[in-house]
Amino acid sequence: MATRAEALPVPRVASWWSVLVDWLTTVDHKKIGIMYVVGALFFLGVGGIEALAIRVQLAGAERAFLHPQTYNEMLTMHGTTMIFLAAMPILAGLGNYFVPLMIGARDMAFPRLNALGLWLFILGSLLLYLSFFSGGAPDAGWFAYAPLTTKTYSPHKGMDFWILGLMVTGIASIAGSINFIVTILNMRAPGVKLNRMPVFVWTMLVTSFLIVFAFPSLTVAQVLLFLDRNFGTGFYAAEVGATPILWQHLFWFFGHPEVYIVVLPAFGLVSEIIPVFSRKPIFGYTALVYATVAIGFISFTVWAHHMFAVGLPPVVAYAFGASSMIIAVPTAIKIFNWIFTMWKGSIRLTTAMLFAISFVAMFVIGGLSGIMLATVPVDWQLTDTYFVVAHFHYTLFGGVLLSVLGACYYWFPKMFGRKLDERWGKVHWVLTFVGFNMTFLPMHWLGLDGMPRRIATYGAGLGWDVLNFVATVGAFTIAAGTVIFILNMVVSLWKGEPAGDNPWEGWTLEWATSSPPPAHNFDGVPPVESRRPLWNSHEKRVLTPAEVRALITPDEHVHLPPPSVWPLVVAAGITIIAAGFIYTMFVAVLGVVIFLAGVVGWIQQEGYH
């Protein structure tokens, strides 16, 4: 029987080699979650540096900081990195760490599949970035429109890296989603009914379904593009009677749900943070959950609003415009949920709460400009201008990143046992919030004034210099905040204020165990009879850690799966196969051998049922 005393970390001298092997072969959802987050933060930094390069180039008219070809590569890799290598994995990482804790489970349903997803994300990302050292990075935008991406117009191998790197990370996303769905539906502790699950768990469930249903469309689009580029077919070639518009349909049938894939878990994060720092339960839980599910469904019916300018039949265009406006209804419901949660609450303006509140405000701006763009004639006027860039950065930076940063401050104490420094945190928040608005608010006016996006420079005398310069200063302000954030994390790991089990007096199950939690998460889970299992409704306060412990009946048998090297081997095999398709088939054969060896080892390993 595992007792709490045993669970405390025992000081021991570990060699760097054993630490490395431990992390490379771990199947613990918490370690996997941490690696996801660290990997995603690394790529957030890389994508941020690419953004800074773009902003330096655009700081004034007719600058020559970046060659136009390099500019295209920076633009493509910034978008691709931020969506696929930063936003998705950081949410997958937070989900990995906290979903099992929030539903009172010991681990994810498939621990080795979980590790496989992590390694596919890491190796697929590295494969994509290998393009920089192999003749040129992808240069046709993250949306990769055909025929711009066909061999004729993008002759170097960059797009092949884009296709295969993202296929590898795509397998990771689908594997991760299957794991989340099974874990959430099938591994809840007694009493954790669906309608008592924390909202973040709900959003991860809906997002996982979106990934499962949306990614195949991207995969098909990429397969066809790869065949066109390398095997002489013409799925996107008008000259053989095909239509290049097919790419746009397939891509956006994936691409629009993708927006909600990253934004729904962000909604979930603020739905955890705002109630705790308002000392009130979330307002209208049921409406919030139904709105999440509704957004999930509607997100599959709006994709052609990215394509109004390609000449859709008017009826089709207006139908997609209407569905795009309808999706604003469940989104607005959520905005009101958050506002009414804060209404008459005793609000504590911690750094996490500041990020969450600014998320709500910024996301409203992004949502409203979205409604403007859903109006077909307005879109015709504004499409491919900086107005669109402003719009989606208000939803993705103002939406996803602000809430993720809030979650970092909220959950860091649980993950590492120490709080992040609040004073430096507030400096980080101020710089991020001010810098974000300096960067992206002016882009609304630049877009209305006709400044086209995706173009490496602009003429002097068009009057765009000042606002562009302001945007560039804003981008460096964000960068300054990010440096402070990184230093804050590093210093707080060693010097931060010790957190204790429940530093924010939260009421969900992740606060019912030590910080950081032991390998087996809980000795036992306290009885769950409401949406706030750690809330004493008679005395209107959160249970103390000692009271929580008194409620727990420790489990007699704790079975933890052994570490496994096979996920890493299988992931390496898959990535080498993908690399073989770019370089030579010999490499692919080598990959197949490694893959099969990994699969055999996986099947034969003892300790898993």
């Binding site: 099974v182 099938n186 591994m187 499962v212 195949p216 995969t219 077919t233 009677g241 095909a242 489990d555």
Partner: protein, 194 residues
């Protein structure tokens, strides 16, 4: 809690592996749906060159029959496992494998013949969409046959029975799915005149 979950089942009472595999199949269904939609969009466009008149419908109809019958053999395999009938299990599993391999063999024969008659992967839109759609299906059947062979080796070691038939069940889900996809592909590609 978890001791209870591990020992006495899951929240939904459904095995993790089966629930997870159903989810995976949902994703696969969208994958094939997308390929089928691409086929339909491009059928009837730019029809110069060799086309669907080259397809041997009676042969493929027979092949369809064999593939569908293999699903029956798969069901009988699992039924035998649940009854603890080791002989029946091995027999019907082998039948499933043979019928699956037969299907792939006929498809290879069909491809060789079509290529000989001039319909290649790059001849025209019909060639591209035909080989992509049926090729991805054939690859799935091939993976299924390899999976069933691995399962057969385990069956020879006596690993399956009334207490342990979930791995067979999961392999069966995959096999039925691959069959079901063909039920859509056969009429759409071979029978309907677009």
């Amino acid at each position: 809690m978890t001791a209870q979950v591990e020992k006495h089942g899951t929240t939904l009472g459904l095995d993790h592996r089966k629930l997870g595999f159903w989810t995976f199949l949902a994703s696969e269904a969208v994958f094939f749906m997308t390929l089928i939609v691409v086929f339909i969009i491009y059928s009837g466009r730019a029809t110069e060159g060799p086309g669907r008149e080259l397809l041997n419908i009676p042969l493929t109809a027979f092949n369809t029959f064999v593939l569908l019958t293999s699903s029956l053999a798969m069901v009988l395999t699992i039924d035998a496992a649940r009854r603890g009938n080791q002989r029946g299990l091995k027999f019907w599993l082998l039948m499933t494998i043979l019928m699956g391999a037969f299907f792939v063999g006929v498809q290879v024969y069909e491809y060789r013949k079509l290529i000989h008659e001039g319909l290649t992967f790059t001849s025209n839109l019909f060639g591209m969409t035909f080989y992509t759609l049926t090729g991805f299906h054939g690859a799935h059947v091939t993976v299924g046959v390899l999976w069933l062979i691995a399962t057969y080796i385990k069956a020879l070691q006596g690993k399956f029975g009334p207490d342990n038939y979930i791995p067979l069940d999961v392999a069966g889900l995959y096999w039925h799915f691959v069959d079901l996809v063909w039920v859509f592909i056969f009429p759409i590609v071979y029978l309907i005149r677009w």
